[in-house]
């Protein structure tokens, strides 16, 4: 905070909501505050945020939170026990505590989601902004490729990629990323087309900035927020696809406590020991639901036009 306009303790809100921000930072913070106010009024979105934060904390403190080891169980005494005070979600066929496995599995879920976002979002951003800014032949070619990828069945394509690359969590991530960037490219291109006409772009062009500089420094940052919203909305789909791959035995390999693979394992015992499959599925459902709620809230908060 600069000394000139340091607000009094009670004037925080006025300072944030000021019509005439004194600095760039004040304007940015004010905008963020406005978005947060819209967002925090949405109770379901707040619930989603709370669950996502809880997921982060659980993943971070998995070692402290898990009551038992996620990998080693006692085959003689704790095999396929129903839920009880000692094992809240019961135990699986290897005698491992399911709650502990779910807690450790949260790390894998986060790993997949974050990595797919890091891989797919920049690809989409670059393709979309370059296509939108250059126009003409480059635009037509890039968008045709995007449309081709959009026309593919995502899960099946991911399956085929994993089949070729070999099963494993990293390959599952790559396969999902390859199939999930096209929507981001579409969004980034649409944003770029409107931004391209802006006066400040013309000004930067006159100052002699190179096309790359314009795209990277002046257009891409403005497309980031809508892409982030879309990525958040896609998180649930990413989690479900990763779990599906895990369920088919193509994602994380045993004994990794990946939730989808845990359901596949529980499938063998589902008729008699239902809890083995039930608990990890409920965890997937809860986390996907949280990301969906969060994404809806973000969309409404960041884009007032999109409120339905």
């Amino acid at each position: 905070m600069s000394a000139v306009n340091a607000p009094s303790p009670g004037g925080w809100r006025e300072w944030l909501m000021s019509d005439r921000p004194q600095s760039r930072r004040q304007a940015a913070l004010g905008r963020a505050y406005g978005g947060w106010r819209t967002f925090s009024r949405n109770r379901l979105a707040m619930l989603g945020l709370a669950i996502v934060i809880a997921l982060l904390l659980v993943a971070l403190f998995a070692n402290q939170l898990a009551p038992y080891s996620p990998y080693i169980g006692d085959l003689r005494t704790t095999r396929l026990l129903p839920p009880s005070a000692a094992h809240w979600f019961g135990t699986d066929d290897q005698g491992r505590d399911i709650l502990s496995r779910i807690i450790h599995g949260s790390r894998i879920t986060l790993f997949v989601v974050v990595l797919v976002a890091i891989l797919a979002a920049p690809i989409g951003l670059v393709v979309g902004t370059v296509a939108g800014y250059s126009g003409g032949l480059i635009d037509a070619a890039l968008m045709r490729i995007t449309d081709i990828f959009l026309a593919f069945p995502r899960l099946i394509l991911a399956l085929a990629f994993v089949a070729a690359l070999g099963p494993g969590i990293e390959n599952a991530v790559i396969a999902i990323a390859i199939t999930s960037w096209p929507p981001y490219a579409r969004i980034a291109r649409a944003e770029t087309l409107t931004i391209r006409q802006a006066d400040y772009i013309a000004a930067v062009q006159l100052m002699g900035a190179s096309p790359w500089r314009i795209v990277l420094r002046h257009i891409m940052p403005l497309c980031v927020s809508s892409v982030i919203v879309r990525v958040t909305l896609d998180m649930a789909g990413i989690i479900l696809t990763a779990a599906g791959l895990g369920f088919l035995g193509l994602g994380a390999q045993p004994p990794t406590p990946e939730w989808g693979a845990m359901i596949a394992n529980g499938r063998l015992y589902v008729l008699d020991q239902w809890w083995v499959a039930a608990a990890p599925g409920a965890a997937i459902f809860l986390v996907s639901l949280a990301f969906n709620l969060l994404g809806d809230g973000l969309r409404d908060a960041l884009d007032p036009k999109g409120v339905k």
Partner: protein
């Protein structure tokens, strides 16, 4: 009418024809490019990524001259573009090679598995559209009411729940505990061999044979996976119907119809829904395509011997010909339905004609 006016009219007509031809041409180009893309991706997956297809066949201890010979036999010494060309020609002839797992031509396997998947996805879509459209209309008319909340919650669950888990839990409750439905598979083993497949669709085959007991049995096996797919289609279709209907109900023609004194039922079902139907057809076609894809996981859970199960079984046995063949078939249907919905949209919406 003067001659000048006549020729102008003729010119306009030929211009419209030309535009029509242009649209058709563009469609064909899109189909061609998308399909080429699909072939390129599967070719890439099958030929370029694996370590060496020759070693996969002969093993890494084969002598050098054997490796050379096999390489030539498989056409792998030719330039890549030529290999791709040969690959495309074979695929277009329906030749996906031979499955390692079943030692049948892949196309034959797919043809056998296909009806099971179609049966499942079709029934699912019928259920989803049959219930989803009225529900979506109801939600839009009574905005904020019970139906609206229901559509919202169903949508949220549909987008968040893993389909294979819901299937397992469904089997647990409705098959194992309550005994209301048949278990995994398409029909009980007792009926399986007494039946001569005519169409490959279990319901039709049993009906044709007049075996109503078997028909009932096949239905009890079909109903749970079909309802499951139907639910996902319902969640999507009702949500889209709601938003299309809200859009239509805000239009001026609805006000005009009300001012004319038409009953609300007539306005909603005859006027607004008819306009909302145009984008809805697209949505239903896309959800059908989505169900064909979603069947991969559902079929695995229900041991349903369709295309999805075929693909996953082949995957687990590293049977690449079968996997890629299945991918191409599902991809082709996906592309076909995408384009069909696009064409239907243009045909149904008179506004897109004069553009």
């Amino acid at each position: 009418m003067t001659i000048a006016e006549q020729t102008r009219g003729g010119g306009r007509r030929s211009a419209r024809l030309l535009r029509g031809a242009d649209t058709v041409g563009r469609f064909l180009l899109v189909i061609f490019l998308t399909y080429l893309g699909l072939l390129a991706v599967t070719f890439f997956i099958g030929r370029v990524i694996p370590i060496d297809p020759v070693l996969a066949v002969v093993g890494d201890r084969a002598p050098e001259h054997v490796i050379q010979r096999v390489r030539e036999e498989m056409g792998l010494n030719k330039p890549l573009w030529e290999q791709f060309f040969i690959y495309c020609r074979k695929v277009l002839q329906g030749d996906f090679g031979t499955s390692v797992l079943t030692s049948n031509p892949v196309m034959q396997d797919i043809r056998r598995a296909f009806p099971a998947t179609i049966e499942l996805a079709t029934l699912g879509t019928i259920m989803g559209a049959g219930l989803g459209v009225p529900l979506g209309v109801w939600a839009a008319v009574r905005r904020g009411g019970v139906a609206d909340q229901l559509v919202r919650v169903m949508g949220l669950i549909g987008y968040s729940v893993p389909i294979f888990w819901l299937g397992l839990m469904g089997l647990l409750v409705f098959y194992a505990r309550l005994g209301w439905v048949g278990g995994p598979g398409r029909i009980d083993v007792a009926y399986e061999y007494s039946l001569t497949p005519v169409t490959g669709f279990m319901l039709l085959d049993t009906a044709i044979a007049g075996e109503w007991e078997a028909f009932g049995n096949a239905f009890s096996h079909l109903i749970l996976p079909a309802s499951l797919l139907g639910y996902f289609s319902l969640a999507y279709i009702s949500r889209m119907t709601r938003s299309f209907m809200l859009n239509e109900l805000n239009q001026e023609y609805v006000i005009a119809a009300r001012a004319k004194g038409l009953t609300e039922t007539r306005i909603i079902w005859r006027h607004a829904l008819r306009n909302a139907m145009v984008p809805l057809v697209t949505v239903i076609a896309l959800s059908y395509a989505g169900l064909l894809e979603g069947s991969v996981l559902t079929e695995t859970v229900f041991a349903w011997p369709g295309l999805g199960l075929y693909i996953t079984n082949s995957l687990q046995n590293a049977d690449m010909n079968a996997v890629l063949g299945g991918t191409i078939v599902v991809g082709s249907i996906f592309i076909g339905l995408n384009l069909l919905s696009d064409i239907l949209y243009r045909l149904l919406d008179p506004r897109t004609k004069t553009r």
